[in-house]
Amino acid sequence: MSTIPTETVQPGKASLLYDPKIRGYVYQLALLAVVGFLLYSAASNAITNLRAQKIASGFGFWHNAAGFDVNQKLIPFSASGSTYGEAFYVGLLNTLLVASIGIVLSTFLGFFVGVARLSSNWVLSKLAMIYVEVIRNLPLLLQLFFWYNAVLKPLPNPRQSIELPAGALLNNRGLYLPDPQLGPGGSLIVWTFLIGIVASIIFRIWARKQQEATGKQYPVGWIALGLIVVLPFFVYLVTGRPISFVYPEIAGFNLRGGIQIFPEFVALLLGLTTYTAGFIAEVVRAGILAVSKGQTEAANALGLRAGPTLKLVVIPQAMRVIIPPLTSNYLNLTKNSSLAVAIGYPDLVQVFTGTVLNQTGQAVEVVAITMAVYLTISLVTSFFMNIYNKRMALVER
């Protein structure tokens, strides 16, 4: 009896070479080694060759003085004293600014067009179809050129600025808005406003729980309006109107004062928004069509009107289909923002892989940093969209 186990073990030992599991590991290790060697030799080769040609390398340039200017900057930046590192942040913030606003606007526009395309209103649905087909089938670069010229060409020069309500001015240098200045006690208004938003969200969550538990409905919209708009306005009056505005005025060739929104930014935002909205519209349409018609009929049978049917029955189920492709459209929008180069919007690619790369000559480092940034932005976007997706996914019991 004791011989039996040894007999069964022995064939196993003999076939170590033929064990599919072991062989699998060996192959994978070999592949890893080959890839590792390739990467190592490529990297060391690049370094050797860069040294041989005496091309500067390393990241020391980060703290060197930049010596050039950028027009649109969210953080202080000037030719005197700012570094290449700061130029990187200027570009990065401009990219994030246009991408985040673009994502919000294209989502709204895309949902609207997507729903409109399924509308029973013939004119509306055909218009939505034309929009989607035209926008999706033209190259984005071409559309950006179109928007840039469409934004720029009809506008007058600064001396003949178009006067808009509330002291805003519009000309071919951009849109100038009055710049709000907070006087003493002004921060109180901002805080009230922020607290109002938080309180509204908390109230909404509470109201929904109450509705689920008792069926009682609360006027969430009106209360939120009161908290976010009326209350800060009340504080504004009580504290003695501490907000003043600096209005843009003509000085020399350009306008002085006010907040300037550059035409390059507007053109890029318009281009990215309309383009991405075309794709999002199709994603939304696909999502809605994926919800079985019986759901709508059942809702109708219960007496729900068209609006609530869409909002409460169809869209929540459609979201499960919509979110994954929506994420990839968000990523596309962010990456497409690099086409800003063509119309002079100072985004990351324009400032960093454009001017900084050229002035320092360090292509490897600059391009590597830029790739890492886009990868990070994309991964972070995906991460949050995946969390959202998990929440919306069908809960299986």
Partner: protein, 340 residues
């Protein structure tokens, strides 16, 4: 993140390998094997480098490449012109995509050192200026305070502009574009009050505007812009060839050798001319060229004065005066070491 960094290195390494390989076997051998010279040129600047409707390139910078091809192949047409934007030009040269960069490139210390490049001379002494609309009613760049200025990114122009406004304590708004065409278009659309680049470029671009007479070049020249051909570090022989091609064109003008009389000069008794033409001494061989290398250049392309007048001077639409670009014997800065 690491993966991508590595991928970037792989891409760079491939590029660096090509560059390295060329440095080892010599750019001249590479060019001879290939049978054609790869010349990095601009994306279209009248007088300096621009293709016509048939795709034939002409210009001062273009003729320098043709002269190098003439010296090597005895055929000025064996050049492939690769249009490069200001921001792409150095990467393209570093990676070995072009053998020679000849596109109104300013010689600066950092480009000569940290970028791993060598300048082979100065084929046009230039300076940066401003182009504005006449109806702005200004006569000096010092009155541009508060204005918007269009410029091309990745140029010395962008840096000089910042320096100039900073040192004169004037505010301004810069609008930088990747390509020259877009920059000029934005200026013409009224996005900017002024367009700035090298003065030669301003005169060239003004011709392309709808009504050139509505625009003037302001008198201020705010920088030194010595423009010249560029090669990579690490191949001294190739640097010599490009350097002496330019010098040969200058020496020819000084000696009175022109495209028209170069064949007669073969019979000349003047020792300087004999050395130049290659009938005396062996001056081409140490560079890996034939001894009649300079004769070929003048025969096919012409001397510096001829090339200048034809492309940017009185024989062209630009009508730029020789000025600083006259020979040293005529009060200019163009001076070439002797061939001996």
């Amino acid at each position: 993140m690491n993966k991508f960094f590595a991928a970037a290195l792989v891409a760079a390494a491939t590029a660096a390998c090509i560059g390295g390989a060329q440095a080892q076997t010599g750019t001249l051998a590479q060019v001879k094997n290939r049978g054609i010279l790869h010349c990095g040129s601009g994306t279209g600047l009248a007088g300096f480098g621009i293709p016509d409707a048939q795709g034939n390139w002409t210009g001062l910078d273009v003729d320098l490449c043709r002269a190098v091809a003439a010296a090597i192949f005895n055929d000025p047409l064996k050049v492939k012109f690769i249009p490069l934007s200001a921001k792409d030009r150095f990467t393209s040269l570093q990676s070995g995509e072009v053998d020679l960069l000849s596109r109104t490139t300013t010689w600066t210390l950092s480009r000569d050192t940290a970028l791993g490049l060598n300048f082979a001379g100065v084929n046009y002494y230039d300076g940066q200026g401003f182009l504005v609309r006449k109806k702005l009613g200004i006569d000096s760049a010092l009155k541009l305070a508060g204005g918007s200025i269009c410029t091309q990114q990745g140029t010395t122009t962008e840096l000089n502009l910042a320096d100039y406004f900073r040192s004169n304590k004037m505010k301004y708004e810069v609008v930088a574009f990747a390509s020259n065409t877009e920059t000029v278009k934005a200026y013409e659309a009224g996005r900017c009050d002024a367009f700035t680049t090298d003065a030669s470029g301003l005169y060239a671009e003004r011709l392309n505007l709808t009504t050139p007479a509505d625009h003037i070049v302001l008198p201020e020249i705010i920088s030194k812009e010595p423009l010249g051909p560029v090669v990579r570090h690490g191949d001294d022989n190739w640097l010599d060839i490009v350097k002496w091609t330019h010098n040969a064109m200058l020496n020819a003008e000084e000696l009175g050798i022109t495209q028209a009389n170069v064949d007669e000069m073969l019979k000349s008794d003047n020792p300087e001319i004999k050395r130049f033409i290659g009938t005396e001494g062996k001056f081409g061989e140490p560079m890996g060229l034939t001894n009649d290398w300079a004769y070929r250049i003048i025969k096919h392309v012409g001397n510096y004065g001829e090339v200048f007048e034809k492309n940017v001077g009185q024989g062209s639409l630009l009508k730029i005066a020789r000025g600083q670009n006259a020979l040293w014997t005529k009060g200019g800065l163009q001076y070439a070491p002797p061939i001996r």
